[in-house]
């Protein structure tokens, strides 16, 4: 009989607010094979992990079940604790009671608790049948791919090539630089954008490991961490490139606020990038009004684009530096000048006479043309009254929005996006700049609107993470490969035909002709298992007995107990 330990996580309030954790623990302790059932405030914290480890040692556990969040982010962590406590890392089973229970049944605590119990019973049933496994290793192609030639992608590529890693950067435009090409000065330090781009370009140009593909388009990506194959079109020809790791740095673009505040029809109403263009040609307006949050923090596009307040502060100060007698007004719904450097800009702008006016979403400003100039009428929330003033230029600080084809990139790499089309990393705190899919990384504004300095630090972070498998030269392959039981195998060849990787062949064994899986080629999809009419094919960690036991557990606890 196995000795199973069940650890139920509160995840602070995340799980405990909907699921009665103590009740689940009590229930778990009644399940067959369970010798210890405990709960942790945060199972993944230092404290939680060490208490799990202690329990494994104290209770001589040989199977561990953690009921917490998703195996897609936390499984490696708990497997490691099992290993540290002296049991094989594959004697661990994860039960998801956060993403799949508490967060989606937030207002039904009773049903959520019952469902959590059933899921734990299913997990325990599977755990009792788990077997120790050995992991295999595969080699890594020492080449990195960076998609997108903006500041994030350039940083990542420069960082990779400086480590001596062959790096291919793909940019669909005919020049690298991304949005930085349209910006002259970078806030809050007022650095020259051109200098930054020149540094990157010269670094990449003189490094023999750098391969820049402008005017290119990636059309297909296959394979796994360490062994990807990237298909791309360049100069009307299709090429294939083997690579070990891939970094997504496709950036974002400025939202075009068509029709808002007369944008597109009233002359003198421009976006932030429009203003950048004007300023770089030396045209400094006498009177400017910025309107913040145009098209963001409103129904349909609820997020804060984060960079627009700082961009407006930067440009306000640039205007005042070039023409101190200018009048600058900023109409905002909250100034988000996060970070000490940007907060300094805010203070400096106030001191230099920039007028800040707070408006609300339900009473937006109105712009009217009066002769050659514009009149802004706005309800100032602080003064609690309408004010109007003349201006020459209205700058709409519209948010960064995702690239129109970001979903296609997501499909290509099989990585998730949020509802606004920004990419979702595996975990913001535990696995930043990583995707849940191993070997694929993300940085910059493709993830969420980011400032130039954030793009740079994320580009470096993604490069550092991507270089890990490449520098190690090998990756450990999860032991979820298939095997055939020669006693049961009738050598029908169904598995051979169904395997997408041609990893199975029929060979002569001591027990006659039978299927044999080449483990180095097997990717662990389990397609052969479902195709086997004799139950001879099995997948490690997903055997037919293990999955059947989960069905039995569900039947037992959902149908028998309630009826």
């Amino acid at each position: 009989m196995p000795r199973i330990g069940v650890f139920v996580c509160h995840c602070g309030h995340n799980i405990a607010s909907a699921v009665n954790v103590e009740e689940v623990v009590k229930f778990a302790s009644t399940l067959p094979g369970v010798v210890a059932a405990e709960h942790n405030l945060y199972s993944c914290s230092e404290e939680g992990l060490s208490s799990i480890r202690k329990s494994i040692e104290k209770n001589k556990l040989d199977r561990v079940v953690v009921a917490a969040c998703t195996p897609r982010t936390h499984e490696p962590l708990f497997r490691k604790i099992c290993e540290l406590a002296g049991i094989n890392r594959y004697l661990f089973e994860f039960v998801n009671i956060r993403e799949h229970v508490s967060w989606i049944h937030a207002k039904e605590p009773k049903s959520a608790t019952e469902k959590a119990k059933r899921l734990v019973a299913m997990g325990v049933a599977k755990a009792s049948l788990l077997e120790p496994q050995q992991e295999a290793e595969t080699s890594v192609i020492p080449t990195a791919v960076v998609i997108g030639g903006g500041v994030s992608g350039l940083t990542a590529a420069a960082s990779l090539v400086s480590q001596g890693i062959d790096t291919h950067l793909f940019e669909r435009g005919d020049k690298v630089g991304g949005m930085l090409q349209d910006i002259a000065v970078i806030g809050p330090e007022f650095a020259e954008a051109r200098d930054l781009l020149d540094t990157f370009e010269s670094e990449l140009k003189r490094n023999k490991h750098a391969h820049i593909h402008t005017g290119s388009k990636i059309t297909a990506v296959t394979g796994f961490v360490g062994n990807f194959e990237v298909t791309y079109d360049e100069k009307r020809r299709t090429h294939k490139l083997p690579a070990g790791a891939i970094i997504v740095a496709t950036g974002a673009r400025e939202f075009e606020p068509k029709g808002e505040y007369g944008f597109g029809s009233v002359p003198g109403v421009v976006t932030q990038l429009g203003l950048e263009k004007m300023l770089s040609t030396g045209k400094i307006p006498d009177r400017v009004a910025f309107i913040q949050c145009v098209g963001s923090r409103q129904p349909g596009r609820e997020y804060c684009s984060r960079i627009c307040c700082n961009a407006s502060l930067k440009n306000a100060l640039r205007i005042l530096a070039a023409k101190p007698e200018s009048t600058v007004s900023i109409l905002h719904r909250d100034i988000m000048s996060y970070g000490t450097a940007s907060e300094r800009l805010y203070r400096e702008a106030s001191e230099k006479g920039v007028r800040f006016m707070r408006y609300s979403l339900d009473r937006p400003a109105r712009i009217a043309q009066k002769g050659k100039s514009l009149v802004v009428e706005v309800f100032d929330e602080t003064l609690d009254e309408f004010i109007d003033f003349g201006t020459d230029l209205v700058v709409l600080a519209s948010p960064l929005v995702s690239q129109p084809d970001s979903r296609d990139v997501g499909k290509l790499l099989k990585v998730p996006l949020d509802k606004h089309g920004f990419f979702l990393e595996a975990h913001v705190k535990l696995r930043p700049v990583e995707f849940a899919t191993d070997g694929v990384f993300i940085c910059g504004s493709a993830k969420w609107p980011s400032s130039v300095s954030e793009c740079i630090s994320q580009g470096m972070a993604a490069a550092a993470k991507a270089s890990i498998p490449i520098r190690r030269g090998k990756v450990v392959v999860e032991a979820i490969t298939a095997w055939a039981d020669p006693d049961k195998c009738a050598a029908c060849g169904n598995c051979v035909a169904s395997c997408p990787y041609e990893a199975i062949e029929i060979v002569m064994t001591a027990k006659g002709r039978a299927a044999k899986v080449n483990e180095a080629q097997c990717k662990g999809c389990g397609t052969c298992v479902a195709g086997c009419p004799n139950d001879a094919m099995q997948q490690r960690g997903f055997t037919t007995r293990q999955l059947s036991s989960m069905i039995d557990a569900l039947v037992k606890h959902a149908l028998e107990e309630s009826s």
């Binding site: 989606i104 169904s498 479902a530 999955l547 989960m550």
Partner: protein, 139 residues
Amino acid sequence: MTDFNPTILAFCCNWCSYAGADLAGVSRLQMPPNVHVVRVMCSASVKPEYVLKAISQGIDGVLVLGCHIGDCHYMTGNHRTAKRIPVVQKVLKEAGIDEKRLRLDWVSASEGEKFQTVITEFVNDVKKLGPSPMRSVRF
């Protein structure tokens, strides 16, 4: 049978639909608590026997969710699922069980909202069908 609370089993592939289910959770999308997700690596690894076992033991409905066609992490795994599941539906029908108790659908890692829709729809569909006839004659 207004208070009928179906018990539903869902097989989700690790790469798309399980991730889609996670995204639904992260996005706090609310849905009925009848569905129990079993993670498998690929929808193509779902043995027809699992479905038949679950249904014959009285589970009211089974969902098989995979990556969209063309997006399978294992290249062509879900092509097999797309062929296999309709056959299982036919078997169920032959046995006198409404084939709507088994549903195959595609949910990508970015489709948290679709996961919510599929779950909600399927629970409602199974509610309309009523308890599985196998509940009383389980074997």
